[in-house]
């Protein structure tokens, strides 16, 4: 991959991360806004080694945990695992088609929520199974949709296929 294209990709990831914090912190949109942080980790994991993806997940997770008084570190653990598995998924699945990426983002975000809610100290509203089997897939669908939209914008602006 040419260096300029590589740079453009990381700028795109940075924009996705900033968009996440703008939506969730500056605007306070809560669950009305998609989880773009997981999307950023999953997309970057497809282009890096497992250790680098884990590190990216760790640092972004720590940032997200900065405002959590009771479960500090939970998102760092979750995104570290998701990042590493995302990078390793290249060994199993090759492909850059939109349908594949949508499925990848959906499964990645669902896995994120499952790990997060199974950790101790995290708050679960209502039944755990309902959260994992209804709320989490819906949130995953929303995140995958937002991720695909962002990726389409990126590909349109860089001409990348």
């Amino acid at each position: 991959m040419p260096a300029s294209r590589n740079r453009a990709f990381w700028v795109f990831i940075a924009i996705v991360v900033i968009a996440h914090f703008v939506l969730h912190l500056a605007i306070g949109a809560k669950e009305n806004a998609p989880d773009l942080l997981t999307v950023a980790v999953l997309l970057s994991a497809r282009r890096t080694r497992g250790s680098v993806a884990a590190l990216i997940g760790f640092f972004l997770g720590i940032l997200n945990d900065g405002l959590s008084p009771t479960a500090f570190g939970a998102d760092a653990i979750t995104l570290t695992i998701v990042g590493f598995l995302g990078a390793r998924s290249r060994d199993l699945f090759e492909g850059e088609s939109m349908l594949f990426v949508a499925g990848y983002l959906f499964l990645g975000k669902w896995l994120h929520d499952v790990i997060y809610f199974l950790l101790p100290k995290t708050e679960v509203r209502g039944e755990l199974m309902q959260q994992l089997l209804i709320q989490a897939p819906l949130a995953a669908l929303y995140a995958a949709g937002a991720g695909i939209f962002a990726l389409l914008l990126y590909r349109a602006s860089t001409g990348e296929r």
Partner: protein, 324 residues
């Protein structure tokens, strides 16, 4: 084709580094809250600060856009009220002087704007735009005009984090407004935030508290001042055979609707019952003075509620594993 051994070594190194990162995150997760707090503070005051400041700006702009005529009407009503009460206050002061009584300790509040964040783990909390520089302290009660919203758990220089009553760790020492039953109030979470209710636990078994009766803070826990409305009784939740009863309460104030709050600055020793027009029975006022008999009754309430701490939830920067 890559050399097999080289690839395997590289993969092993990759897994080892990822494992070390995971271990670091686990250590961070299980660190005692006292060690986590400085890291959180550093993050809030560095990388996350621009985003929090942006929300503060948005909240300020939103507050400024309130209809001026509505504000003017409220100001005029308050001016009339203050003017009418000024003579009474002066008369009261003179009478207290004549009787050799000290001035009644006042109540002091600071208004603050509510800032909400939508990150996981911060669901039952919100931020306010005042902090230690404005005199806010940890455990200061946070109130809406209709009742208690929560308490301050983290204080930065110009910003504080508040735990609202929907948090699983919320506890408040409470009593019925007439002072006939004492207990602990804690959250009962529904499937959605709108369904969240409060519950008065550890109430005496022999008493029947009728629906519609107001429940207020008792001032016993050392956190919340006495007389702040918590909610009104909806009905009985549970009757533990021969020991205690729990009642469901309709909350007096809901955190999701609050855009501005009042932060108590005077500590737990003051009495807010008149402020909220609760008319708490005079006989219960001795409770706050902390007589021996009251302590005994507080201990009895504590014994009656073994699953919950009898005091207001006072832990700061806390974590509780078994919240689920």
């Amino acid at each position: 084709m890559l050399d097999f051994d080289g690839t395997r070594k590289a993969r092993q190194r990759d897994v080892a580094i990822a494992g070390a990162v995971l271990l670091a995150s686990l250590i961070l997760f299980f660190l005692p809250p006292a060690f986590q707090a400085p890291i959180r503070t550093a993050l809030r005051n560095s990388v996350l600060k621009p985003f929090l400041m942006a929300q503060e700006q948005i909240a300020t702009r939103r507050a400024r856009s309130v209809d001026v005529s509505e504000l003017r009407a409220q100001r005029d009503s308050l001016s009339a009220l203050v003017a009418a009460q000024a003579t009474l206050a002066e008369e009261n002061r003179k009478l207290r002087e004549l009787n050799g009584l000290r001035a009644r300790s006042g109540t002091e509040f600071r208004p603050a704007e509510v800032l909400r964040v939508g990150v996981p783990g911060a669901e039952s909390t919100f931020f306010i735009n005042i902090g230690s520089a404005e005199g806010v302290r940890v455990n200061a009660p946070v109130l809406a005009p209709t009742g208690l919203l929560g308490r301050v758990i983290v204080v930065d220089e110009h910003m504080s984090q508040v735990m609202d009553w929907t948090h699983p760790e919320f506890r408040a020492s409470a009593m019925t407004a007439e002072g006939e039953a004492y207990g602990l109030v804690e959250a009962r979470r529904g499937r959605f935030r709108e369904e969240d209710l409060l519950a008065l636990t550890g109430a005496p078994f022999h008493l029947d508290i009728q629906p519609g009766r107001p429940v207020v803070t008792s001032g016993r826990g050392g956190i919340y001042p006495r007389g702040i409305p918590l909610g009104t009784v909806i009905g009985i939740e549970e009757a533990d055979t021969g020991w205690r009863k729990s009642y469901l309460l309709r909350p007096a104030a809901r955190p999701d609707g609050a855009s501005h709050v009042l932060v108590g600055m005077t500590g737990a020793s003051v009495d807010h019952s008149r402020l909220f027009g609760m008319g708490v029975a005079d006989s219960t006022r001795r409770v706050v003075a902390g007589s021996a008999s009251d302590s005994a009754r507080a201990n009895a309430a504590r014994r009656a509620s073994p699953s919950s701490p009898a005091r207001d939830s006072a832990r700061t920067d806390t974590t509780t594993a078994g919240a689920r």
